[in-house]
């Protein structure tokens, strides 16, 4: 059962004559990582700013946990944590004091909870140091710790991997996945990095020029073993393999150094056995996924034409 933590309805932002965001509608469900994908300037940050009350909405509303951000911001944001753009913290304070500061805005300071979130993002060693001495990755993690302080039901992260090295990106990804698994929190994360979204998100909403152009499930249930899929096969001799498979009625295409086979999980073991028995050497078997990037680029191109 899907429960919507946040409902975005007809959300619009107009500055002067420019419509930055045009009537967005989507839900963010409990326990999911929802990606917000779009090129720079598409309206991602503007949307997020309106969701957390940094910007006034020109039209529509955002409902979080049943409370309208427009009418009852204080209640609505009680269960929202987030980072908009860079995780800018007070550099002259220690990481710990920063957390004290932001926790005190919502309620009394709770040292236990601070310890918990610090542990969750793995900053135990540096938490007493001044933020001035932190690397960008550490600042991102402190930002996430700050966002998690009040047990939010929704985490809003604007480009959380911006400026991080691959190792830092991988770390953040793992934190977020662990977090949704362990706490059932919903995460709404924006990015213009498609490959990154593909690895992180359960679902993505694609925004272009202030409008939603598509919503996609990224990980449809793969337990359907009869579902058709494409498999790439490297083998020797390739021609012989094509002949054998064609004979069996398998759809196969020969590429320069590998074969593309249309098959399913259920049939794959038989195909493998058959080829081996016929004396074909198999080096790799790989499931081919049509990458989000290909689909995204196809759509963007379509949009331009």
């Amino acid at each position: 059962m899907t429960v919507a933590v946040a409902k975005i309805r007809q959300l619009s932002k107009k500055i002067g004559n420019k419509e930055l965001v045009k009537s967005l509608n989507f839900d963010i469900n409990q326990g999911e990582i929802l990606g917000f994908l779009g090129p720079n300037g598409a309206g991602k940050t503007t949307t997020m700013r309106m969701m957390v009350g940094l910007m006034k909405m020109s039209g529509g509303d955002v409902e979080i946990n049943g409370f309208s951000v427009k009418k009852n911001k204080e209640q609505a944001l009680k269960h929202v944590g987030g980072i908009i753009e860079n995780p800018e913290m007070y550099k002259f304070l220690s990481g710990y004091d920063n957390l004290v500061h932001f926790q005190r805005m919502n309620g009394p300071v709770n040292g236990e909870r601070i310890k918990e979130v610090v542990k969750l993002v793995g900053l135990e060693k540096a938490i007493k140091n001044k933020v001035r001495t932190y690397s960008l990755g550490m600042k991102q993690r402190l930002g996430i710790a700050q966002a998690l302080l009040d047990h939010p039901k929704l985490l809003i992260l604007d480009e959380p991997t911006n400026g991080l090295d691959p190792e830092g990106i991988r770390e953040i990804r793992e934190y977020l996945k662990k977090l949704t698994r362990e706490t059932g929190i919903a995460v709404f994360v924006s990015s213009h990095l498609l490959s990154e979204m593909e690895l992180l998100c359960d679902r993505i909403v694609i925004i272009q020029k202030g409008q939603i152009t598509d919503t996609e499930e990224l990980h449809p249930s793969e337990d359907v073993i009869d579902k058709s899929m494409t498999v790439a096969l490297t083998c020797e001799p390739q021609n012989k393999a094509v002949d054998i498979l064609s004979e069996q009625g398998v759809i196969v295409r020969s590429e320069e150094d590998h074969l593309l086979i249309q098959t399913s999980y259920a049939k794959l073991p038989d195909i493998h056995r058959l080829l081996v028995n016929e004396g074909v050497n198999i080096y790799t078997i790989e499931k081919v996924r049509v990458s989000l990037e290909d689909r995204f680029l196809a759509k963007t191109k379509g949009g331009r034409d």
């Binding site: 009350g53 940094l54 910007m55 944001l77 009680k78 929202v80 987030g82 004290v100």
Partner: protein, 315 residues
């Protein structure tokens, strides 16, 4: 309760930086400087002040009888004579610079320094959060914006009071240690509208501090408004310092040209001490008038600050 916690946050941000500590050090330095000047320049007070007062009266009498002394000067001399006579009649020694309380009186005269510091703090407390980029994190918390802004202003007022009390206590301690209480006077004598009044020195200090504090509340509100409006602390500091320290001169010049509106300017009304221990700088002004003017300006300054802050999109 929430506002109290927010003030606590503002104070944490202030105390964990060097700025306030440098200000405290400068206050200590200014007290020491006043001490050095007192020790170097003023002769130690006379053993018999009554004799000196009597001499002063005699000399002033001679001046009064001379021709060619302008009337304004004569008024002053007459007032001085009255005060001296009052002291003799009631046996109240003057507040000598080289006594504990006389030193305090001297030092609190330098509290313009604190006004300067308060302008700096008030002018940056909002704009610096924009500059640091932390305003976003602050305003996306489930706290109403007006509470954030109010706590910032209250924090400024709290720290202004702290600096003022610090200066007073420091001056008292230094004065007591260096000069002691021998020959110190506990009564303060002043002239208002041609009549001599006397009050406890501590009442005088308290009223002086209070009047000064009200002035700080006003100029801090002004700096706060400019800073909130333009998100620029340099502009707010420059404008506020100009008004604070050139305001009275501008006021007098305008008054000299007979401009009637001058009494409605907020900075000619900030010195409430002029009604308590003296006469108003511009005719027709009363303490009630000034308080109303200050209230009106205060509401305008705060109103502009809160409205812009409440409405603004945070980019």
């Amino acid at each position: 309760m929430q506002v109290l916690r927010l003030i606590q946050n503002e104070n944490m941000k202030l105390y964990k930086r060097k700025m306030l500590w440098i200000m405290l050090a400068l206050i200590v330095a200014s007290v020491i400087l006043t001490l050095v000047i007192t020790l170097k320049t003023s002769d130690s007070h006379p053993d018999n002040w009554k004799q000196t007062a009597q001499q002063e009266i005699t000399e002033n009498q001679k001046l009064m009888n001379q021709k060619g002394v302008p009337k304004a000067a004569k008024d002053q001399i007459a007032a001085q004579m009255k005060v001296d006579q009052y002291r003799l009649d009631h046996n109240i020694a003057p507040l000598f610079d080289d006594t504990a309380l006389g030193f305090v009186d001297n030092v609190i005269g330098t509290s313009g320094l604190i006004t300067l510091f308060i302008i700096i703090i008030s002018a940056s407390i909002v704009s610096q959060e924009y500059a640091w980029g932390t305003m976003k994190l602050v305003l996306m918390r489930p706290v109403q914006r007006w509470k954030v802004l109010l706590s910032k202003y209250l924090s400024v007022l709290f720290n202004a009071l702290l600096l003022l009390v610090f200066l007073g206590i420091l001056a008292f301690i230094v004065g007591a240690i260096v000069f002691g209480f021998k020959d110190t006077s506990f009564q303060y004598v002043y002239e208002r509208n041609g009549i001599i009044h006397q009050t406890s020195v501590f009442t005088h200090f308290f009223l002086f501090g209070l009047s000064h504090y009200i002035g700080m509340i006003m100029i801090a509100a002004f700096a706060f408004m400019v800073s909130t409006l333009f998100k620029n602390n340099a502009l707010a500091i420059a404008l506020s310092i100009f008004i604070e320290f050139a305001g009275s001169i501008i006021g007098s010049v305008l008054a000299m040209f007979g401009k009637n509106y001058v009494k409605y300017l907020f900075f000619v009304n900030t010195d409430l001490m002029q009604y308590i221990e003296g006469s108003p700088s511009i005719k027709g002004m009363t303490i009630g008038f000034s308080i109303i003017i200050l209230l009106v300006y205060f509401i305008i300054f705060m109103g502009v600050s809160f409205l812009t802050f409440e409405k603004r999109d945070v980019a």
